[in-house]
Structures are given as C-alpha cells and as structure tokens.
Symmetry: C2
Subunit: 241 residues, 2 copies
C-alpha cells in the first residue's frame, strides 16, 4: 500500500519524524504537498483535506492517509505505522514505552519551537525577540539539560545496550532522536559544542543512525529539506550561548 | 487489579485527565502521592520511582503503575487504560482517532499552561507577567477559538451524533473535554461567557459529563481537588478579557 504524507512542503518540521521512518523502512510513500498541483499536490491539496468536513479531518499536519484511514499527530502516526514499518519492538509493553518516549521527545520539540516563538505562533520571530532571548536562556540552562540528560539515561539503562532507545534494533524513536540532535546542532551550535561531552550515548546514536544505509541515502538526497529559518529548529545566534 | 496513580498531590493538572477516567469507570485505584508517607505515599514515593534508575523510569508525572508495568504521558496512559476501563470504542481505527483527539487536546492544554508561564516553568508567574499578558491576548484571540472551533466541529460531525467526541458512548476524550471546558471557565470566565454561544455542543457535552453518576459523585467529593492557582488552569483576571 502506498502511504500519503501531508505536511508543509518547505520545512522539515514535525513531518520529518514521519519522513525519516518512511525513508529508513524503504516504504512506498508520497509527500503530497511537495508534488505539483498538476499531480494532485501542493498545499491546496493538504488544506482541502483539513477543511473537508470529514469526521476525522485533522486540525493540523502532519497526517498520513492509507486506504480509507487518515491519522494525525506525529507520535500517533509513528505508533500506528511502527509495526508495519518494523520500527518498533513486537510486545505491547515495549510499544507503549516507545510511544511514551516519543511523546516526551515531542514535548521537548514544542519547547524548542517556543525558543523563537514564545509569545504567539502567528507573529514573526522579529516581533518577539526580547521574549525569545529570555525563553532561550532558561531553555539552555534548565530544559535542554533536563531532556538530554533524561534521554542519555534511557540509552545508558537500556538492558539491551546503549545503541538504541528501546530494545536491540532500530526504532522510530532512534530516528527521531537523530533528528533532535541534528536539529539542536543546527539551532544551538555553540551550546551543543559545550555540552555534547555529557551525552556520549546520544552522540553515538546520532552517528549510527546517520550511517544506516537508507537514512544516509535520504540525507544525501534532494528529498531531505535542509534545515532553514522557517522550521522548528532555527539558528538565531542571539538565542545561542 | 489495583492501579497506582502518581501525580502531584495539590493540583488537578495533567493527572486529572487520568483521575476522571478512573472515577468514571469506577476503577480500583490509589492516588499514591496523596496518601500519607506512613502508608507509602507522599511526593517522596513518587520521586523515588522517577529516580529509580529503572529503564522505564518516567521523566515526569502523571504515571500509572499496574502490575510490573509503569506508563507515563497522560494521553499514552489513557490509550493504554481506555479498553480495560471501557472508555474507548472497540475498533482499532476509532482508538487511533480517540488518541489523536486526546493529543490535540493535550497540545491545547500546553498552550493554556503557557498563558501564565510563557517564558520559563521554573519562574513564578509574577516574574513573567508582561509576557503572560501578551501571550494570553494572542491566546484568547487566535488559539482558543481555533481549538474550540475544531472540537465543536468534531462533535457536530460525529456520525453517531453530537453527544460524544467519538462513537455513541462515553469515552476518555469526552471526560477530558469536560475538564477542558471546566478549566477554561475557571481561568477565563469573562472570555468564556462571551464565546460559549459559539460552541453549543461542547457546552452540552460538559453538562452531560458532569451528570454521569460516577463523575457527579466524584466532583462533589473531597477527592476532587478544587481548581487553584498552582495548577494548569489559573485565574488571573488580568489575563482574561
């Protein structure tokens, strides 16, 4: 079955956690909003589904359509597709833990977003710069070490070894953790350079995921949208250390 | 089996979404941190589990222990317990949709929290009042109508009728939506008085859930912690309309 991913075409954003899972699994999917309108693509096609009046119309992207089902919320999408893509362990308790980790990661991503948009998502960064400086300072000092320290511990305590967030094989949580580290390095290069020695297992996980053949191929392709100043991870030097 | 809920004892917070599910289902549960230390309770008992070094130790409450499993993240807990508590439809696609709605509701709750804490969770409200005023103004104008409008539409479009968020019976999503409306009325009474006419199905859902016998009994009991100025929903008149 071909999966249809709907997400903003110009950014990695929260859609990237789903793209990475599709790419790592070698899944058959189309990134609908990045197709031309002549092929049924574009943002208009995405908005049409959101405003369709269907009972399951999502509030926001990303969402994935497969057959007659439409599923939104990135962590919910990954919990749904993980088994088919073979990116999550088999047993139910491990799947709940994978989802719990993904939701904790999503909380962190929300806070990363808020470093440049602490007041309102509909305003430009330039309209909330003083507040962003305050938010980012507290983020660098308190929140970043809290989350990274937790995730480092999760790796260190994995009974199957520190190569994976859960179990002994690659999961969607590992892929998302790769994206998180990559994004933090883009957004906060000086901060990350100063703290990465505290998180050796996370750094090793990032490197290992980048070398997974399907992931390496994707990262080197045009399909991978570069980090940019419209996404969740943005590099504003004044928000860095 | 007796469930053990761990959450901050003095507030409703995110634990309340889980408490409401337990109460509505008449489940056998203990609210561990609200028990005296002499009975194995208190915040110390909760912190001990979080700092246990176990592979599945959660980053933050709420979490629920049942047998040898510990599950965190309120939406993940509800997705896990929903079937046992008979608070979610049977089919897998409907369960994914219920979870999607719960995650969307959780996003809204995060934004409600940020109305009084837009800069940093470790600071007092009094240390971020000017920023909170700005955030709350944008929240009232843009975010509140966006989310409530969406949830109102979900009710209006439910093929089984507007009495429930999904399907034809009470689910944990309905219980959480009750809590959301109750909390918004506490935090933003003037704003809500001005807009509730736009959301008749949500208002009716709130009333119906409050009349469910197990819920009505709980709400009238000492077990229901009152809304207060330490929780997620806080009433600061200067943040209201």
């Amino acid at each position: 079955m071909q999966y249809k991913l709907y997400y903003w075409p110009g950014i990695q954003g929260r859609g990237e956690f789903v793209r990475l899972a599709f790419e790592a699994a070698g899944a058959d999917y189309v990134d609908v909003a990045r197709l031309p309108a002549s092929r049924g693509g574009g943002v208009a096609a995405m908005m049409k589904l959101m405003q369709s009046g269907a009972p399951n119309a999502p509030l926001a992207p990303p969402f994935v359509v497969a057959g007659d089902e439409t599923v939104a919320q990135s962590a919910n999408i990954l919990a749904w597709l993980g088994p088919s893509l073979k990116l999550v362990p088999r047993d139910a308790a491990a799947r709940r833990r994978a989802h719990q980790l993904q939701l904790t990661l999503a909380d962190f991503v929300d806070e990363i977003h808020d470093t440049h948009h602490p007041i309102a998502t509909h305003l430009y960064y330039e309209d909330q710069k003083p507040e962003a400086r305050k938010y980012a300072a507290a983020f660098r000092k308190h929140r970043l070490p809290k989350y990274l320290g937790y995730f480092e511990q999760v790796l260190a305590r994995n009974p199957a070894g520190p190569a994976h967030m859960i179990g002994r094989r690659l999961t969607y949580v590992d892929l998302s953790m790769f994206q998180l580290i990559a994004g933090l390095r883009y957004a906060f290069p000086r901060t990350m350079a100063g703290v990465e020695a505290d998180y050796p297992n996370l750094v090793a996980l990032h490197e290992a995921v980048a070398r997974v053949p399907n992931v390496a191929r994707y990262l080197a392709s045009k399909q991978r949208i570069p980090f940019n100043q419209s996404g969740i991870f943005r590099h504003y030097p004044e928000l860095d250390r």
